[in-house]
Symmetry: C2
Subunit: 221 residues, 2 copies
C-alpha cells in the first residue's frame, strides 16, 4: 500500500493529504519524527523533510512536486485549471502560501508554539509570535480581497491553491491562532473546504500535549 | 515590450532569465531595488519580491510559477520532459535548489556577503558564512552523485532543474564561493551550461562595489 511519511500539523503534509484524499488515493499515514534524523528516513529523502510519499519502491519528496505529480497521474477530479493563465495563478498562490505565508505566519506561530516543544528546541520567542499574529491579519485580508472577486482562491473552481491555504490555516486553527471573525468571506471559504470528506483526516489529528480547541472539528465554527 | 523586474545576482531572477533566453523570449531587464519598498513595485507584486515578469498589462510573480507558465505558453525548446515521472524529478530538484540549497548555502554566503551591504543591513555574520561554506560541499557532492548517473541533473536532457542549480551557483561564483575543483562532473556540467548563449546576459552582470573575479566570465575556468 502507498505510504505517506508525515507530521500531523505540517502544512506541507496536510496539502498533500488533501490532494490524495480528494483524488481518493488511499495511503497509510506514518508519522515521521524528522528532527531525530533517523538514517532510514534520510535514505528515503536526503533533504530530510516531510512529506514523503512512497508508491511501490519509489519515494517522492517536495510537497508541490508531489501535488503536481498526483494531478498528472490522477487527473480526476481536477485540482488545476486547464489553461496556462489559470494554472499560473494556482502555482503563484501555492508559492504565496508555502513561502510568504509560511515564513511570515506559520513559522512564527505554529513552529514557535508547537514545534519548539515537540523537537525540544527551546521556548517560543515572543517577538516572533507577535510578528506572526500581526502578519496573519494582512494575509487574511489578502485572501478576503481575492475571495471578494472569485469563488475559490485561484478562480471559479477549487484547486491546489485552496488546499495550500487551508493546510496552513487548519494547522494554525488547531492552536486557535486564526481569527475567523476578521472576514466573512474567508470564514465561508474555510467552512466550505472544511466540510469536504477529504478534510476529515486532518480534523481527527491529535498532537500529544496540545489538545485542539472545540471549534477545531466543528463544521459550524 | 516584455519587462523583467529583477536583481542581477538573485538566483530566482537568474532562473527566469535563463528560461526566457533559452526560449528566445525578449525582455527588457529593469533593476528593482525591492528592499526600498517602492509603492509602485508593491502594486505590481504584493509579495514584495523579484522577479516580476510583465507581459502586456499583466504582472507575473513567483519564479517557479513563471517558469512553468513560460514552458506551457512557449513549449519550444522544451525545458521539461513529457512524462509525469520526469516532470516530477525536475520539480523536485527545482524545490531542492530554491528551498534547501537556498537556505543552507545562498542565504549564508551571497546574502551575508553581498545583500547585507547593498541593502545596508549590517555586517556579515561569520557563523552563517561558515555554515554556508560547509553546506555547499554537501550540495556539490549531491550534484556529482546525480551527474554520475545522468547527463543533466534531472535526466538525459537539460531542464529547468539545471537552470535552478546554475542560477544559484553562478551567483555564488560571482563572489568566488564555488570550489570547481571539488568535482569534475559538476565542473563539466557547469562548463556546458555556461557556454550556452542564454547564459551571456548573466556573465555580463556587474554589481557596483563587487567586481567579479576573472574566471567568472571565462568559459575555460
Amino acid at each position: 500500500m502507498n505510504r505517506l511519511y508525515h507530521v500531523p500539523l505540517s502544512p506541507f503534509c496536510r496539502k498533500v493529504r488533501l490532494c490524495l484524499a480528494e483524488k481518493k488515493i488511499e495511503v497509510e499515514l506514518v508519522e515521521e519524527r524528522y528532527w531525530e534524523r533517523d538514517p532510514d528516513f534520510l535514505r528515503r529523502n536526503p533533504a530530510g523533510k516531510v512529506p514523503i510519499l512512497r508508491i511501490g519502491e519509489k519515494n517522492y519528496a517536495e510537497s508541490s512536486a508531489i501535488c503536481e505529480y498526483l494531478e498528472e497521474k490522477h487527473p480526476t477530479p481536477p485540482l488545476m485549471p486547464s489553461d496556462a493563465e489559470g494554472r499560473f495563478e494556482v502555482r503563484r498562490l501555492v508559492s504565496w502560501f508555502d513561502d510568504k505565508f509560511h515564513s511570515e505566519v506559520t513559522a512564527n506561530l505554529l513552529y514557535e508554539r508547537v514545534n519548539r516543544k515537540i523537537t525540544k528546541s527551546g521556548y517560543p520567542v515572543s517577538a516572533n509570535v507577535k510578528a506572526g499574529a500581526k502578519a496573519i491579519k494582512f494575509h487574511l485580508d489578502y485572501m478576503a480581497w481575492l475571495l471578494d472577486r472569485r469563488r475559490w482562491l485561484a478562480g471559479d473552481n477549487m484547486t491546489i491553491a485552496d488546499f495550500a491555504a487551508a493546510a496552513h490555516l487548519s494547522s494554525l486553527d488547531y492552536i486557535s491562532d486564526v481569527d475567523w471573525n476578521r472576514s466573512a468571506v474567508v470564514k465561508d471559504w474555510y467552512a466550505k473546504i472544511k466540510s469536504r470528506p477529504a478534510f476529515r483526516s486532518l480534523l481527527a489529528d491529535q498532537v500529544p500535549g496540545f489538545p485542539p480547541p472545540e471549534h477545531y472539528t466543528d463544521l459550524d465554527f
